[in-house]
């Protein structure tokens, strides 16, 4: 595979895309796992399907449509949650299905044969272009900068947002920043693993890191490293076994998380057993 990596640009693109996606999934995954916002991220990812469909219908890059829809759903969820009128779980569930439904409707309104949407639903890291890489790079730089520049604010918000709110430490702004960064990350991950599988690559590295590390900075760093390991192992396996890369990445990520969970549980039980 190494010789092919030097020879083929699509493999080089996949390699760089994997690195950038790992950084994004590591940072945003850490926040959403700690803040228990996993279903909200799933809702934002699935709502973006409506944008893919609209992109095809009006003839713009479907990923831009996905970006618009995921941003719109993220900000709407934030607004509704803040107003407190309706349970945010209900809104997330509805947006989840509404986005998918709109995508199907927009595609069915297209004249002629419908396009193949598999690469948006299940990703295709081997089809990443230089333009995609540029978009991923910009998103990765912006998200990393916002996270590290406001590290203490994020720490305060994640630990106890009520206290931070009373202190006036920009909780509302952080909440919207998080929603926007999640929407941007989801769009990047659509290229790698697709809308349907994005949630697992967003949470598996962070959740694995959470099982093993007790320090925030270490947890974020290891979350990024686990992302790199899962994505590259998935690509290598898919290349070797000639299977879909996105699905293989998710398979590796879930197996690694489950194995870590089982091993840490056994270790904890042994420790508790020794304590008695």
């Amino acid at each position: 595979m190494l010789a092919d990596l030097i020879k083929y640009q699509f493999l080089q693109n996949a390699f760089i895309a994997g690195l950038l996606a790992s950084v994004l999934a590591g940072i945003i995954g850490f926040i959403i796992v700690e803040k228990k916002m996993i279903m909200m991220s799933g809702g934002i990812a699935h709502a973006s399907y409506g944008g893919v469909g609209l992109g095809y219908l009006i003839g713009i890059e479907p990923l831009y449509g996905a970006l618009g829809f995921s941003l719109l759903s993220a900000v709407s969820v934030g607004l509704i949650k803040r107003k407190g009128g309706t349970d945010s779980d209900i809104i997330i569930g509805l947006f989840w299905s509404l986005g998918m439904a709109l995508g199907v409707i927009f595609i069915s309104l297209m004249p002629g044969y419908p396009p193949n949407l598999n690469s948006y639903l299940f990703g295709n890291i081997l089809a990443v272009t230089r333009a995609d890489l540029m978009m991923m790079l910009i998103v990765a730089v912006v998200v990393s900068l916002v996270f590290f520049a406001l590290f203490n604010n994020w720490k305060a918000y994640l630990f106890d947002d009520e206290f931070s709110g009373i202190r006036g430490s920009g909780v509302v702004l952080l909440e919207y920043l998080l929603l926007i960064m999640t929407a941007l990350t989801v769009v990047v991950l659509i290229r790698i693993v697709g809308i349907v599988l994005a949630l697992a690559i967003l949470i598996a590295p962070a959740a694995t890191s959470k099982l093993l590390f007790k320090k925030m900075s270490k947890r974020v760093m290891m979350s990024v490293i686990f992302g790199v390991i899962f994505i590259f192992s998935g690509i290598w396996l898919s290349y070797t076994l000639n299977t879909a890369a996105g699905a293989m990445i998710i398979l590796v990520a879930v197996i690694c998380y489950m194995a870590t969970y089982i091993l840490t549980s056994i270790k904890l039980r042994k420790k508790q057993g020794n304590g008695h």
Binding site: R167, K210, K214
Partner: protein
């Protein structure tokens, strides 16, 4: 100047009235315990004071100013159960968060002075040896003391605590009360509890809340007041001594805090 003034306060959750026509004045350096049954509106009243829930009618003033405008003067200690005890953070890091500036702070670093103050506060609450421990390793009492130290880091004029002795053993409860008693020499304290046992000798005033304010005055309350507050007969033994429900309240067999 009064530390807290509440006038004709009404708070609703949808159709449900959580607080009805509450009037309350807390003077500076007072130590007020707010007591009442579950669902009696204690936590809602705290949230209203902190500006976290919208108020339907009435007015809340903190040290003479609007509560939302002046809430930076409050040191808030939330309920033990409302904070993630497994968050990856050390004890001293939590305390330092109390010194975070208003608004967003880009590339923020805590100063040596702030670190020194955090260490001093940890010493004051008796956690100086645990400063670099992960919070997941703390006991209930230690966790509460850490949250008190974080609140003190904000240099509050008014300390508000929500159930500070819930999930804490008797010895740790007494430690917390001793600490609050010492702090009360300089700071006004308002504490919410659903536990009659929690009323310690440091408490100077008692407010009994069951949607409306049933009683506000001396902490030595009569049996009649407690009975009317909980809606069932309660044995009132003595100040700071366990009390016992004598008969279960009809339709409610869970009058927590009384045993």
């Amino acid at each position: 100047m009064n530390a807290l003034e509440i006038k004709d306060l009404d708070v609703y959750y949808g159709q449900l009235q959580a607080i009805e026509k509450v009037n309350l004045i807390v003077r500076e350096r007072d130590f007020l315990a707010i007591m009442g049954p579950n669902g009696g509106g204690k936590s809602t009243l705290l949230k209203a004071i902190l500006g976290l829930v919208p108020i339907e009618n009435g007015e809340i003033k903190i040290l003479g100013g609007n509560n939302k405008k002046n809430r930076h003067l409050i040191g808030y200690v939330p309920q033990f159960s409302s904070v993630d005890k497994n968050f990856p953070i050390t004890v001293i890091e939590v305390v330092l968060l109390g010194a975070l500036n208003k608004g967003l702070s880009f590339f923020h670093k805590f100063t040596e002075e702030q670190r020194g103050k955090a260490r001093e506060l940890l010493e004051k609450v008796g956690l100086d040896k645990l400063a670099n421990r992960s919070i997941s390793q703390l006991s209930g009492g230690e966790f509460q003391k850490m949250l008190i130290a974080r609140a003190l880091m904000t240099e509050p004029k008014l300390l508000i605590l929500d159930e500070p002795t819930a999930s804490v053993d008797a010895k740790a409860s007494q430690d917390i009360y001793n600490l609050l008693g010492a702090l009360n020499k300089k700071i006004t304290i308002i504490m919410v509890t659903h536990n009659v046992m929690a009323i310690s000798s440091y408490v100077k005033g008692l407010a009994c809340l069951n949607v409306g304010l049933v009683y506000h005055g001396d902490p030595e309350i009569s049996e009649e007041v407690v009975n009317s507050l909980f809606g069932c007969p309660v044995e009132l033994v003595a100040h700071g001594v366990p009390h016992r429900v004598l008969k279960e309240h009809e339709g409610d067999n869970n009058v927590s805090g009384l045993n």
